[in-house]
Symmetry: C2
Subunit: 151 residues, 2 copies
DNA sequence: CCCCAAATAAGATAGAATCCTATTTACGAA
DNA sequence: TTCGTAAATAGGATTCTATCTTATTTGGGG
């Protein structure tokens, strides 16, 4: 909640415009959900957003938060942090490696890269604390999905 | 399930040894859970592992899968793919950026980096399909948690 | 071979995310 | 401005993932 007001206002203005362009109705609830998200730098979950928005719209339901965030994500107006968080996924490969995540079928493939092996922790990251590991996440469409195969 | 047999065997041998060292009992169920994970390159979820292990141990319960994977993750013998998958988290920052994730409190901070801006999609990633975006995930302990503050 | 803490099975439970349906609302068109 | 309609919402029901509870079983040291 410590974002510069101008940043938030800019995001809100862009959001209004994008909604009009994409024929998404500018409902009171939708605006407030986006405002709550755009005002935060904490990558909030639905419950946090609900708590904030409820101050302005006491009767808003969690389902409305979910529905709008999902819709906005589909339209590229917000994003979901991290990989598919629908369920836990595990990995027996404990060595350093990177991930290719298919945005269609959700498959995750490991890869290693000589070029990336020697990258140091960025100074911008060290500013937040003590980094201990680092990996790249490449999103895209896997070969199988490109060919139209079902997952 | 297309991993070289030698890779799987090596992982199983290392696993046995690690369990003995760490005084973790080598139960039938634990071995089969790890074998299923070590034989896969799909970053499987609990249901997939359960399906596989059930062929050998028909009465095994999902809880045993969860319990063992959690235990093994705590001992660094397996890892959880992606960020905390306990709930969905959203982001209004649609520009390219990277993440610093605190492994203690789970807070996610955005950052951008001049050095990383010009990195191309690694060839090893392009081998899997068509990449469309890329971001770095730095894990570590944030300043607040280092100072012992509660999340 | 015995013992007991650790591990398991199976059902109960908690909680996140989605679904269902009656009601309300945004907004284009008259 | 008013009207009509498809879209959106509220609230409860439902589904599904993950964890907890408890009685029973078991690995492995002594």
């Amino acid at each position: 909640m410590t974002l510069p007001r101008e940043t938030v206002e800019a995001r809100l203005a862009a959001f209004r415009e994008a909604c009009v362009q994409k024929r998404l109705r500018l409902t009171h609830q939708r605006m407030e959900v986006f405002r709550a998200l755009a005002s935060s730098e904490e990558h909030p979950d639905v419950e946090s957003i609900h708590r904030v928005v409820r101050k302005r719209i006491p009767t808003i339901s969690p389902d409305t938060i979910y529905r709008n965030l999902k819709l906005l994500a589909e339209h590229g107006l917000v994003s979901v942090a991290g990989m598919s968080a629908d369920r836990l996924r595990f990995d027996a490969n404990m060595g350093p490696h990177h991930h290719f995540v298919c945005v269609k079928c959700g498959r995750i493939r490991d890869f290693t890269s000589r070029e990336l092996e020697h990258i140091a922790f960025p100074a911008e990251a060290r500013a937040f604390g003590a980094p201990c590991s680092m990996h790249l996440e490449v999103k895209g469409v896997c070969s199988a999905c490109q060919k139209g195969r079902k997952p």
